[in-house]
C-alpha cells in the first residue's frame, strides 16, 4: 500500500541535510507551511538556501524565525520586503540575497519540475537583474536566458491530501505550492485535512501524488487577516 502519510514532524523532515536548497510555498500569510518551517528549525539543518516569494512578515512566525535562528545562508526571493528580521540580517551582511522577478521565479521552479534546464524570457531585459545573463533576440524580442531552479526539498501547505499524496489547495493558498511540489527531490506537505483515497475528485486534484513524498496532518485553521487596505477614497466600501 502506498502511504505517504507520516505520523510526526520528525518523520516528515527526516534526512534534510545541511546546505539544502529548500522551496517554501506561500504568498503573504496564505499557504505558508509554517508548521514545517518550525519543524525545520527543530530539525536543525543549517546553511540552507531558501527559495520563497516573500521573506515573511511577523518575526515570530515562519521564515523570519528560521532566518533569525541563523539557518539560512541565502534567500532567493522576488519581494523580500516587510520582514524586519531579514532586513537586519541583510544589512548586517549575514544573509545573501538573489532577487528574481516573481514570474521568472515561478517559471524557473516550474522548469525544474518539467525537465526544462533553461528558457528565454523577455522579463528583466535591460534591467539590473539581467546583468551577467546571456541576452539573445528570439521570437522577435530581446530575451535573457534563465535557468531551472531545482531544489532538494519543497515545503508545501495544502488543504486536502490523501495517502497517495494527491493535493488540493484553498483560495489563494494555492500560489507557489503546486509549482514547488513538482520541483524538489523531497516534497513534504502539511495538510489541513487528510482524506480517504478516492475522496478527491480526479478532475479537481491540483497536485497529483507523483510529486509528493510525505504528508503530515496539520489542522491549524485559517491564516491571519491580510494587510489593511491603504486607500484614500473607497466609494463602494462605504455601502
Amino acid at each position: 500500500m502506498i502511504d505517504k502519510r507520516v505520523a510526526s514532524m520528525a518523520e516528515a523532515l527526516a534526512g534534510i541535510a545541511d546546505g539544502s536548497t529548500v522551496l517554501v510555498g506561500g504568498f503573504g500569510a496564505v499557504g505558508q507551511p509554517n508548521a514545517l518551517i518550525d519543524g525545520l528549525i527543530e530539525q536543525g539543518a543549517k546553511d540552507l538556501i531558501i527559495v520563497a516569494n516573500n521573506a515573511g512578515m511577523d518575526a515570530k512566525v515562519g521564515l523570519p524565525r528560521l532566518m533569525a535562528a541563523g539557518r539560512a545562508r541565502k534567500l532567493v526571493c522576488s519581494f523580500p520586503r516587510g520582514s524586519t528580521v531579514f532586513d537586519e540580517l541583510y544589512k548586517a551582511g549575514r544573509i545573501e540575497l538573489e532577487v528574481v522577478p516573481q514570474g521568472t521565479l515561478a517559471e524557473r521552479i516550474r522548469a525544474a519540475g518539467a525537465g526544462i534546464p533553461a528558457f528565454y524570457t523577455p522579463t528583466g531585459v535591460g534591467t539590473k537583474l539581467a546583468e551577467g545573463k546571456e541576452q539573445r533576440h528570439v521570437g522577435g524580442r530581446d530575451c535573457i536566458l534563465e535557468h531551472a531552479l531545482k531544489a532538494d526539498v519543497a515545503l508545501v501547505e495544502a488543504w486536502r491530501a490523501d495517502r497517495w499524496g494527491n493535493l488540493t489547495y484553498k483560495g489563494s493558498g494555492r500560489n507557489f505550492n503546486p509549482v514547488m511540489a513538482a520541483a524538489a527531490t523531497l516534497t513534504v506537505v502539511q495538510s489541513q485535512h487528510i482524506d480517504e483515497l478516492g475522496a478527491l475528485d480526479p478532475e479537481a486534484v491540483v497536485t497529483p501524488g507523483i510529486f509528493v513524498s510525505r504528508v503530515l496532518h496539520v489542522p491549524y485553521g485559517n491564516p491571519p487577516p491580510g494587510n489593511r487596505r491603504a486607500d484614500v477614497a473607497r466609494p463602494e466600501a462605504k455601502r
Partner: protein, 213 residues
C-alpha cells in the same frame, strides 16, 4: 491650478477601461482603480498570486482570510472567478493575455522606459515582485503616479535615473496634473487638470511634451 486627487486619478483611469478587459492593478495607488469600475461593467481583475476575477474588499465582518491580493490585502471572488497556481497565473501575465496592467512608478521616460522597483538611493532591500513580468508581458502598461516628486522634481523624464523595470513599455501615464500618452513622438498630452496650462505642465516635466496630433 486644481490637481486631481488620488480618487479622481483612479476614477479617470477606471473610465478608460472598457468592458471585457483583463486587468492587473499594481499594489498601492493602482489598487484604487477597481473601486471606480462599476460592477455592471464587467472588467476581470487579476492578481499575481493566482486569482482571476477579484471582487471588491470584503466588509470587515465577512473577511475570508484565504483570499489575498498581490498587496496581501483581503479580497473577494467575483462570480465567474477562477483560481490557478503561480506559474499559470504568470502565464497570463507573460503570455500577453492581460489587456492592461496599471503600475505605480518613480519615473517614466519619453521612450516608455519605466523605473518603479528600487531607488538605490538608500540601503533598502531591493524587491521587485511581479513588476518586471507585468511591464514586459501585459498588452498595455499604464502608469499612475504624482507628476513630480515631493520636492518638485519631474518624474516624466528624458531618461530614467533610477534602475529600470522594463524598456519602452509604458503606453499612458495618469498623474495628478494630466493624462499623457507615450507615442513614437514621446509624451503626448491627452488631458490636463483644471487650471493647468500646457506651459505649466511642461515646466513640471523633464522631457518635451507634445500636443495631441
Amino acid at each position: 491650478m486644481k490637481p486631481f486627487g488620488r480618487a479622481e486619478m483612479a476614477a479617470k483611469l477606471a473610465a478608460d477601461i472598457p468592458e471585457g478587459w483583463y486587468v492587473n492593478l499594481g499594489i498601492g495607488l493602482p489598487t484604487l482603480v477597481a473601486d471606480y469600475v462599476p460592477a455592471e461593467r464587467e472588467v476581470v481583475f487579476h492578481s499575481e498570486n493566482g486569482i482571476l476575477g477579484m471582487g471588491p474588499a470584503p466588509p470587515e465582518d465577512a473577511v475570508d482570510t484565504w483570499l489575498v491580493n498581490a498587496g496581501k490585502e483581503n479580497v473577494t471572488l467575483r462570480t465567474g472567478a477562477s483560481l490557478v497556481h503561480h506559474a499559470d497565473s504568470f502565464m497570463m501575465i507573460r503570455g500577453g493575455h492581460l489587456d492592461l496592467c496599471v503600475l505605480g512608478a518613480y519615473e517614466v521616460a519619453a521612450n516608455g522606459d519605466i523605473a518603479n522597483w528600487t531607488t538605490s538611493l538608500n540601503d533598502a532591500v531591493p524587491a521587485v515582485g511581479g513588476a518586471m513580468d507585468l511591464a514586459a508581458g501585459a498588452r498595455r502598461l499604464w502608469v499612475m503616479m504624482e507628476h513630480t516628486t515631493k520636492d518638485g522634481r519631474p518624474r516624466l523624464v528624458e531618461r530614467c535615473a533610477y534602475p529600470l523595470t522594463a524598456l519602452a513599455a509604458v503606453k499612458r501615464i495618469y498623474t495628478n496634473l494630466a493624462v499623457i500618452d507615450v507615442s513614437a513622438r514621446g509624451f503626448e498630452v491627452r488631458l490636463v487638470a483644471d487650471g493647468v496650462s500646457f506651459e505649466a505642465l511642461q515646466e513640471r516635466t523633464g522631457a518635451k511634451l507634445h500636443r495631441p496630433a
